[in-house]
């Protein structure tokens, strides 16, 4: 595939890794904050190619993983109600709340549809006039504009049987929260490539200025990631942290203004609870008053109970980068993709799932 294959080239990868091995002179702790990065690193087998001095740790970068189980319980509660049709990205379908998953709710009779685009949910609403179609609006900056545009379209079409369940989050506040945590010692940040398409690379400036953190915006192909890691190593070793945009073909310094405007038009910042990180001010997105008609939590009484984490599960620490999956005593034993205990195991993008699926060869 054009502009994918070229970035997977073995020669390019070899030459980048050789350079990296040649240049690195000290241990560097790098956090990737995007689940898609976590997956890409495992899928392409990059870990083994990196110099031993580089430690990669995964942050709270999978929107499925950071959604509190109380919210997932609320999704499931809603799914079980009469005349409700739930639409969701496939990623969410197996995530366990405290009592079960949407997949189990569906098996038990709930009307749950997987969609590829929020716009498909709108189509479903058009074809199911007797149902109230609810889209589970989970996502980060990459995804929220698509949801915003869908809400605007629903408003233009005066649809009265379409709602979203607002549960989207934004990335900068938890990054700040993480950096403020003294337990987390990170040298560099692999900035999430597609979040940055919307936010722009400038959005990470505060991390450099306030925390002296090395930042590199990375795409998702092996060379993209290696290039960004190389940049981070370079920044760290040279002592000149900056925001290096290593994904220039997709990310502009100012990001995608139009997409952000659509998000601002439809959503407003709200405080939000992150699994593992706890409540973070202004880290979530609620619907603005003008679009309240599309907010299922305003149309129906949906109690969200703070249900805590599954006993024994260390997802919280993993999402903070404080420990790695093999540090969890349940990993690979009681907890596996076939019978996941925590969200990090069940989400395809989850850190524990990635470690389990792609394993380590050593």
């Amino acid at each position: 595939m054009k502009y994918i294959d070229e970035y997977r080239s073995q020669e390019l990868v070899r030459s980048l890794t050789e350079r990296l091995h040649a240049k690195i002179s000290r241990p560097v702790r790098i956090m990737e904050v995007c689940g898609t990065h976590t997956i890409a690193i495992f899928r392409h087998g990059l870990r083994r190619m990196l110099p031993e001095q580089i430690e990669l740790i995964s942050g709270p970068g999978c929107p499925v993983c950071v959604t509190p189980s109380g919210v997932i319980d609320a999704f499931i509660d809603l799914a079980g109600r009469k005349d409700i049709l739930i639409t969701t990205f496939g990623d969410m379908i197996r995530v366990p709340g405290t009592t079960g998953s949407l997949a189990q709710a569906r098996a038990a009779g709930a009307d749950v549809h997987i969609v590829y685009s929020p716009m498909d949910a709108l189509e479903l609403a058009r074809h199911n006039p007797h149902k109230l179609v609810v889209f589970l609006a989970v996502g980060f900056e990459t995804t929220t504009p698509t949801i915003g545009a869908t809400v605007l379209e629903a408003a233009r079409r005066n649809m009265d049987n379409f709602c979203i369940f607002p549960a989207a989050k934004v990335i900068p506040p938890p990054l700040r929260a993480l950096m403020e945590d003294p337990k987390l010692q990170v040298d560099g940040l692999l900035c999430p490539g597609h979040v940055s398409v919307i936010l722009g690379s400038r959005a990470y400036g505060f991390l450099v200025e306030e925390f002296g953190l090395a930042c590199a915006v990375a795409g998702f192909e092996p060379t993209d990631i290696l290039l960004a890691i190389t940049s981070l190593v370079n920044q760290v070793q040279s002592g000149h942290p900056t925001v290096d945009n290593c994904y220039g073909r997709a990310v502009a310094p100012e990001g995608n203004r139009k997409a952000r405007e659509i998000v601002d038009q439809v959503f407003k910042p709200v405080d939000s609870d992150w699994r593992g990180l706890g409540p973070i001010p202004a880290s979530g997105l609620g619907l603005r008053e003008e679009y309240g008609a599309f907010d299922i939590t305003r149309r129906l009484e949906i109690p969200i109970v703070n249900s805590g984490e599954p006993p024994g599960c260390r997802c919280g620490e993993i999402l903070k980068g404080i420990c790695q999956p093999p540090d969890c005593p349940l990993f690979g034993r009681a907890c596996s993709p076939a019978s996941p205990i925590g969200p990090c195991m069940v989400s395809t993008e989850g850190t524990c799932a990635a470690w389990h699926r792609y394993g380590t060869l050593d």
């Binding site: 595939m1 054009k2 898609t36 929020p118 990459t142 398409v197 220039g248 073909r249 995608n256 993008e349």
Partner: protein, 90 residues
């Protein structure tokens, strides 16, 4: 939540009515074609441009020139990352 891939624009359709006939692009990757919404792109694409596709929407538009440049840049960097201080000679 950020799976997105570049696909080449082969056709721009619609646009007569923002509600009933919104502007959409038909994009291609190795023979796979898909209709995508253009609500979110900063710049209207032309045939031959590349769009980054996420959840049925284009979230970024780059022309073929930009795409190529980026790749060459990558190649150059792989060859001569000489701004990196060599660890033997700090």
């Amino acid at each position: 939540m950020c799976l997105a891939i570049p696909m080449r624009v082969v056709e721009i359709k619609g646009g007569t009515d923002s509600l009933l006939d919104p502007q959409i692009a038909i994009v291609d990757a190795d023979g796979i074609r898909k209709e995508v919404r253009l609500d979110l792109v900063d710049r209207m694409p032309e045939t031959g441009d590349y769009l980054i596709i996420h959840a049925g929407f284009a979230i970024h538009c780059l022309d073929a020139e930009e795409a190529r440049t980026n790749l060459e840049l990558m190649r150059e960097m792989a060859e001569g990352l000489d701004q990196l201080p060599d660890k033997d000679k700090p």
